[in-house]
């Protein structure tokens, strides 16, 4: 049983989704998170235990990503493997058997249509046990404010890829802070830096998804 759980964690780290997935090369033909999660649940393994193994797997790949040992493709495949686990665990979240660590609202700011970075962060954060509310791309400040209203106690993540939309990011931070001073906001994206984040009054800056997880797990957990 323990072996099954460990294998799920390993498949998350390696990005092994299911038996028919050709990725990664050296695991072709082997079962992935999809099959193994089903088997584990059928064998009576608790969803909490499975989730913990996934969190550990995501943390390992996230750390390797932070160290630039792997890149976006590897992280995306891990997130995909994680999503396959979540599909099986969803009913347990809905019934409250498993509880998320908290709620994270994320979106790419107004004027910016780029979703790769935002999706990566959303997937990794979710894979680490947070409930994610994804507002999509080109999200106007008022929609972020509304989302905070609807999700009390949430933390907000803002993404931008275009340098030109950093101004909107700054505006979004201000508008959220004006109405909800206690709400924590973390920003990220290619043109961002700690300095830029500080200037716009954000509570945090993360250069990579694992940095967002560290911020969430470290500071804002209620």
């Amino acid at each position: 049983m323990e072996n099954l759980v460990a294998r799920i964690g390993e498949c998350v780290e390696r990005g092994k989704v299911n038996k028919s997935s050709p990725y990664p090369n050296d695991m072709q033909g082997q079962e992935g998170t999809d099959e193994l999660t089903r088997q584990a649940l059928d064998a009576g393994v608790g969803p909490d235990e499975i989730l913990q193994a996934c969190n550990d797997g995501m943390k390992r790949i996230g750390d390797r990503f932070s160290r630039n040992e792997v890149f976006v493709p590897e992280l995306l495949m891990s997130a995909k493997a994680m999503n396959a686990v979540m599909a099986h665990l969803k009913p347990y979240f809905q019934t409250g058997t498993v509880k998320a660590k908290g709620r994270f609202v994320i979106g790419t700011v107004a004027g910016d249509l780029h979703d790769i970075g935002k999706n990566l962060v959303a997937m990794v954060v979710e894979g680490n046990g947070w409930e994610v509310v994804d507002l999509g791309v080109d999200v106007k400040p008022v929609r972020f404010v509304d989302a905070v209203k609807q999700n009390p106690g949430c933390t907000v993540g803002l993404s931008a890829l275009l340098t030109t939309t950093m101004v909107n990011m700054s505006k979004t931070v201000s508008e959220i802070k004006a109405q909800f001073p206690g709400t924590k906001v973390i920003v990220g994206g290619a043109p961002l830096s700690q300095k830029a984040a500080d200037k716009m009054g954000a509570d945090g800056y993360a250069p990579n998804p694992q940095g967002v997880v560290a911020f969430l797990d470290g500071g804002v957990q209620k």
Binding site: N68, F71, G111, L113, T163, V167, K195, A196
Partner: protein
């Protein structure tokens, strides 16, 4: 049709243009608006950006068509107008450039990832073909496939551009510095891998664009030159990383700063030097002054 490769044979460093997105933004392009639509709705503003770079002395002008692939235009429900918008982009830059300067038709990434199965390879190829053909119809001398991070998409874009136009194709990737001090794209592609892949696909000029400013670009050029000492190399560097001050975007590298660094870029092996995000006609004027004299 002017040959860029021919012009490089003299060994002189050529100067390319600067940013488009940030310049159009200054002219009132709103976040969330489709920049390529401006080629028909705000033709004179787009023309003034192109003309600004021509007047600054750039040897070549790009086109306002970075996001002009049908896949990208579909975000604005404009995919059906891809040919029209790209042709207009090329015509505007051609008019500004006259016949003595080159016009390079800009093609940027679709924003979709092939490896994740978000989009089919054939759809990407067909889209880039439409875009490249329209740019040629509008009068470009060469195609520049830029800001790439994935080998597969870049190779498809180069092939599509070659097949559709027969023109010279330039391809530039965007590299970041890793914690170990190497350079990789966000997809993990190294400069050496980029060089081999884009040349195999048919590009005759290679290079890098965007990124963290002129300093890192000097490093990137050195790394590319280690992998490939001779293929003509183009760079478009950002004017540093921006910060937001009083609701305005401020780029940290001034024209004077980048002029000095451009000299070092040339010494490191760059053959064509221009700017990316945050650079202005003033930056290009400074580059021309630095690189064309002495």
């Amino acid at each position: 049709m002017n040959s860029l490769l021919g012009a490089l044979k003299s060994g002189k460093v050529l100067v390319s243009d600067g940013a488009w997105g940030t310049m159009l933004q200054e002219r009132g392009l709103q976040p969330g608006e489709c920049p390529e639509l401006w080629n028909v709705t705000h033709r004179s503003d787009v023309f003034k950006v192109a003309k600004g770079y021509a007047d600054a002395g750039a040897d070549m002008i790009l086109t306002n068509s970075f996001g002009g692939s049908p896949i990208k235009l579909a975000h604005y429900d404009l995919e059906g107008r891809a040919a029209e918008l790209n042709e207009a982009a090329a015509a505007i830059s051609r008019e500004a450039a006259g016949s003595s300067r080159f016009v390079l038709g800009s093609i940027g990434p679709t924003g979709e990832m092939l490896m994740m199965g978000q989009v089919r390879e054939e759809a990407v190829y067909d889209g880039f073909r439409v875009q490249a053909a329209a740019l040629k119809n509008g009068g470009v001398d060469a195609i520049i496939v830029e800001t790439m991070s994935a080998i597969d998409e870049a190779a498809i874009a180069i092939r599509a551009a070659k097949d559709a136009t027969g023109l010279e194709v330039i391809c530039t990737f965007t590299f970041d510095r890793t914690v170990t001090g190497e350079y990789r794209t966000m997809m993990g592609v190294s400069p050496a891998e980029m060089v081999k892949a884009v040349k195999d696909a048919g590009a005759s000029i290679i290079g890098a664009n965007c990124g963290n400013g002129f300093d890192q670009m000097i490093d990137v050029v050195r790394v590319i030159r280690k992998a490939d000492p001779s293929t003509p190399l183009l760079v478009h560097a950002n004017a540093g990383l921006p910060v937001v001050e009083d609701g305005k975007l401020i780029y940290t590298e001034t024209p004077e700063m980048v002029a000095v660094k451009a000299r070092r870029l040339a010494e490191s092996g760059a053959n064509i030097i221009g700017g990316c995000c945050g650079t202005t006609p003033e930056h290009i004027r400074a580059l021309v002054k630095e690189l064309k004299t002495a």
